[in-house]
């Protein structure tokens, strides 16, 4: 990557003995949409707050355009931000809220008016300028917050769980709107969320946080298809795990309990590991398994869950491990499973990852 817009190097924040964030390294290219994904307390918000300037890093550095950001106070960073509950100024109208960043930058009154109206039009709120924030719905407040953060055309836009307070339908709608804005404006976005679906939909790249560290950075596809840690495999989407020891390995592929898979990250034989594979990669049969799979397992059908467009079967192996298999509705009709009856499961070695068990 040439000249990243934002560069986080060994960034860390500790409160006493607790590391809220530790050894965070990340390069963000101009125009990129990068999401920080992780459970609460995983360090994603702390990292965002360090970039915004609300939290001082205990170690490491932040650079923007190759210049250190640490000595720059919050109000001179020129970074836009959408806060978790919007943080609109309750005593100011929508117009005053949106024009506030321009006013602080000494923009003339006439220019302010023009740019403010542009920004409101951009988020679809033209004509709302005289309203007070509390006279708006949650979704409208969200848009005002967005307009206020973007009105001064910051090169970097931070969003801290911006859709957390909205209901599911509105959230999905706003996801698309934010994506369109991002594409049209070309702004670089750092987006924090704990919602993995949201991250998969919106991001160019996702950084998965856990215990203050970044576990893995990659495109949504890379994270979903080839997770490098058990945490990532577990946190994003649904995953089946079979625990055991690494038996044979040639560096890129190996075996766990006789089942073949690909090595996710470096592992030596004998180490405890899990074999991870997605439910939709499992083939289920009530008789013989199909020929083109590398691994075969047998078990008993414990539960069948109807999901509309698909059907999930929970199959218990002899040692009690339960695996989920997902089939499209049409395929499920063909397979015709029954609770309590035996089933055969099969999957390809390239669809399974061998990951360190921690």
């Amino acid at each position: 990557m040439l000249d990243p817009l934002l560069k986080l190097s060994s960034l860390g924040k500790s409160y006493g003995l607790v590391d809220a964030a530790k050894d965070v390294n990340l390069d963000v290219a101009a125009g990129e949409f990068v999401t920080f994904l992780g459970p609460s307390g995983s360090g994603k918000t702390t990292t965002l707050m360090m970039v915004a300037g609300f939290t001082d890093p205990s170690e490491g550095s932040i650079q923007m355009d190759g210049k250190p950001l640490d000595p720059v106070p919050v109000w001179k960073r020129d970074i836009g931000m959408v806060f978790q509950h919007y943080a609109l100024f309750p005593h100011m109208t929508v117009a005053q809220n949106v024009a506030f960043p321009l006013e602080m930058r000494g923009v003339s009154k006439a220019d302010r008016r023009v740019k403010m109206e542009e920004a409101l039009a951009m988020v679809g709120l033209a004509g709302f300028d005289a309203r007070l924030p509390k006279e708006l719905s949650g979704g409208q407040q969200q848009r005002v917050a967005l307009a206020r953060a973007m009105v001064f055309r910051p090169r970097l836009l931070l969003m801290d769980e911006p859709l957390g307070a909205l209901d599911k339908k509105l959230r999905e709608h706003m996801q698309l709107e934010i994506m369109h804005l991002h594409k049209n404006m070309g702004t670089t976005v750092l987006y924090v969320t704990h919602d993995q679906e949201e991250a998969l939909v919106m991001s160019d790249r996702i950084a998965v946080f856990n215990n203050g560290r970044i576990e893995q950075i990659g495109t949504p596809r890379a994270l979903y298809e080839s997770p490098q840690t058990k945490f990532v495999a577990d946190f994003i989407g649904e995953t089946n795990f079979i625990a055991g020891q690494v038996e044979v390995t040639d560096g890129s592929s190996g075996q766990v309990r006789g089942l073949k898979g690909q090595i996710g990250a470096e592992l030596s034989p004998g180490a405890s590991a899990v074999l991870a594979f997605r439910p939709e990669r499992l083939r289920v049969a009530n008789g013989e398994a199909s020929a083109d799979v590398d691994n075969r397992l047998t078990g008993t059908v414990k539960e069948l869950i109807y999901l509309g467009q698909s059907r999930k079967a929970i199959v218990a192996l002899e040692d009690g491990t339960e695996l989920a298999a997902l089939e499209q509705a049409a395929q499920a009709e063909v397979t015709a499973l029954e609770i309590g009856s035996p089933a055969t499961l099969g999957f390809r070695a390239r669809d399974a990852r061998i990951l360190a068990d921690v």
Partner: protein, 267 residues
């Protein structure tokens, strides 16, 4: 059943009426007497006149002491408001155990009996030469009213959303602009109401003033105190009415401000 609902309703009505009479009747009587045309305290008054207000404003003892009271309450209320608001702001940003301790120390003049404060301040101010001076009285009144301002503003700051300040800084506002444009407008209703109450308390204050004043520098309450103990002439009713109306006015302004800020943004 035990007694009928009617009985309980009636009993409650009686209790309510007795309470209202007990709490308000004495004040109403003073109010009425102050407009009496009689030459001595009598109720109901034979007729209405403004003679006692006339007497009050033409008697230099009362006008002088009234002016002294105002000379004390205005600077005292302003100082208490500035210091109290500043302290409340600082304390709301401290998280250590010290904050609790300092808050306790600043609230102490409200908690410990006034007589102790009065005696202590009198003893020390006599040594420092502040006894019998306007400055001494002002300082003492600031100490007594500061806790009111601080607790009113603190209560407001407790529900103040600190992220609004973060948001302002992120929008490019330096600390002073953030304070002036965001924090101050949002806490100003409580600052104003703190100041109003500081004024009322200072105007009504007697115990500390009793110790610190001399015949030359004497607030109106001290003058009333010495007159009430002598005899109760209706001029005092006129002054009492003025004090009472001042409190009522402050309460009213505060009520209106609260209602308006309830409709307007922020609360």
């Amino acid at each position: 059943m035990f007694f009928s609902a009617k009985f309980w309703g009636g009993l409650r009505g009686i209790i309510n009426s007795l309470l209202v009479i007990y709490m308000l009747a004495p004040l109403v009587i003073v109010l009425v007497i102050s407009f009496s045309s009689a030459l001595f305290l009598s109720f109901p008054p034979p007729g209405l006149s403004l003679q006692w207000y006339d007497k009050m404003f033409s008697n230099p003892t009362w006008t002088r002491t009234l002016i002294t009271s105002v000379q004390i309450l205005v600077p005292a209320a302003i100082l208490a408001t500035v210091l109290g608001t500043a302290a409340a702001l600082a304390l709301s940003r401290m998280e250590s155990r010290w904050a609790l301790f300092i808050r306790g120390v600043l609230m102490a003049p409200l908690i410990i009996p006034v007589i102790i404060t009065a005696a202590a301040i009198f003893g020390v101010f006599r040594i420092w030469g502040l006894y019998g001076t306007l400055y001494g009285l002002i300082i003492a009144h600031v100490i007594l009213t500061l806790p009111y301002v601080m607790s009113t503003v603190s209560a407001n700051l407790a529900v103040f959303d600190r992220r609004l300040e973060d948001a302002a800084a992120n929008c490019g506002a330096p600390p002073w602009a953030t304070f002036r444009r965001i924090t101050l407008p949002l806490i100003s209703p409580s600052v104003m109401s703190g100041m109003l109450f500081a004024m009322v308390i200072s105007f009504d204050e007697l115990v500390v003033s009793l110790f610190l004043s001399t015949p030359k520098i004497r607030p109106v309450t001290v003058q009333m105190w010495s007159n009430i103990r002598g005899d109760t002439d209706p001029t005092i009713a006129a002054i009492a009415t003025m004090l009472f109306l001042f409190s009522l006015l402050a309460l009213l302004i505060d009520g209106i401000a609260r209602r308006r800020s309830g409709r307007a943004p922020g609360f």
